[in-house]
């Protein structure tokens, strides 16, 4: 199987090597006869840099959601990827059915919004505490 690999060196796969999807992704690569450089999802910006630098021609994601969230979070410069005509593949794809594609995008968007809302609340709480503590100290320590 390894002898029949179609790509070497310029294929990247975005998946945590020790995560829950690693085995499935590994078998996808084996079936496709690909060898790839692995990028954890949190290191998507590294994959982006490698695409822009021309070091990656094919990028494999586990699912659409991972790419979409990368685009929405600003970690993937998708216009540059399109310029470079990057070959995108997915371990789990909704296929050609438009309705299934829309469903995948909608679910990804909902999940992204929920996660973003949680991050905003958490950062809002932390920054607010810092702000009111700073105001308290500034007033307390200022001469009257």
């Amino acid at each position: 199987m390894k002898d029949n690999r179609q790509f070497s060196g310029n294929v990247g796969v975005v998946c945590d090597r020790h995560g829950a999807e690693a085995a499935r992704t590994e078998s996808y690569l084996d079936e496709a006869g690909l060898s790839a450089r692995w990028y954890a999802l949190r290191d998507l910006d590294e994959a982006d840099r490698d695409v822009i630098a021309g070091r990656l021609e094919t990028v494999i994601f586990v699912r659409w959601r991972d790419l979409l969230e990368g685009i929405w979070n600003g970690e993937v410069s998708f216009d540059r990827w399109q310029e470079r005509r990057v070959d995108l593949r997915f371990v789990e794809s909704p296929g050609e059915d438009e309705r299934a594609c829309l469903d995948a995008v909608a679910r990804a968007w909902f999940r992204y919004q929920r996660a973003r809302r949680r991050r905003q609340i958490a950062s809002g709480v932390i920054l607010s505490l810092v702000a009111i503590a700073a105001a308290f100290l500034a007033i307390q320590l200022s001469p009257r």
Binding site: Q120, G124, L127, S128, V130, I132, A134, A135, I139
Partner: protein, 263 residues
């Protein structure tokens, strides 16, 4: 308790005026005070009646006590160093609100968005400082110089402050309003202003804090949209009604308590 009794006359006048105006317009009487139900051309009469009611109460209280209004209220504006407290209170409240807004913008809980056309925006903003000081001045005369000063004579100080803060908060809900969950914010705000008054025995500090709050809320309103949850950031012109706003009001109360000598 004379002041409290006089204050209760205000909603009575408001409701009576509303009823007369509704009757003149051929509309059914309403149990709640709700100026939004009035036809547009009658709203100004209702507003004028409300303001007149406040004026009557403010003038009546010192007269009942046998003092001229000028002399009574003038005593709450001492000139020996106290006017500085107005600026101090103003700056303190602006600092809290400015830092809170920065934190919320940075965390994406409020969004910067201009809602009005430039001309309308300029008109709205131009009126904010005058409106803020007018609102602060009238409310502080009513709730601190009249009500709280009177309560302090009849009740233990802590009870007077508690009742003063509660009446201040309830007064904001006499008319029908969109939101009632903001009551907690008004209560803590009332507590802050009552303590500022009690600590300084003057109106300079509470007016400074109050006016700064109105300036910041009305001045930023045309530019921001609340995206965060109401429990965190409040809503509309009530950022002090969310958890952060209430915490900030409590901390500012501690500042005032600590800097102006406590009770």
């Amino acid at each position: 308790m004379t002041a409290l009794a006089l204050l209760l006359v205000v909603p009575l006048i408001m409701w009576s005026t509303q009823s007369v105006l509704l009757w003149r317009a051929g509309l059914p009487l309403q149990a709640r005070i709700n100026p939004r139900q009035l036809p547009r051309h009658l709203k100004r009469y209702n507003r004028a009646a409300t303001q007149t009611a406040f004026g009557i109460v403010l003038l009546a209280y010192p007269l009942i006590r046998g003092q001229s209004p000028l002399s009574y209220y003038g005593d709450f504006f001492p000139l020996d160093g106290h006017p500085w407290e107005l600026l101090h209170g103003f700056a303190a409240a602006v600092l809290y609100l400015a830092l809170i807004y920065v934190a919320w913008i940075a965390s994406g809980n409020i969004r910067f968005r201009v809602r009005d056309e430039p001309a309308r925006l300029a008109r709205r903003l131009a009126g904010v400082p005058v409106m803020a000081f007018l609102v602060a001045f009238v409310e502080e005369l009513l709730f601190r110089a009249m009500l709280l000063a009177d309560l302090v004579n009849d009740l233990p100080l802590v009870a007077a402050v508690a009742v003063g803060a509660a009446v201040f908060a309830v007064a904001h809900y006499v008319r029908s309003v969109k939101r009632y969950w903001t009551f907690g914010g008004h209560l803590v705000l009332g507590l802050l202003l009552c303590i500022a008054f009690v600590c300084t025995q003057s109106l300079w500090l509470p007016i400074g804090i109050h006016a700064a709050g109105v300036v910041m809320l009305m001045g930023t309103r045309p530019f921001i949209r609340y995206d965060g949850p109401a429990w965190l950031v409040g809503a509309s012109v009530f950022p002090y009604a969310g958890a952060v706003g209430i915490a900030a009001l409590i901390l500012l109360t501690c500042n005032i308590w600590s800097l102006y000598g406590g009770l």
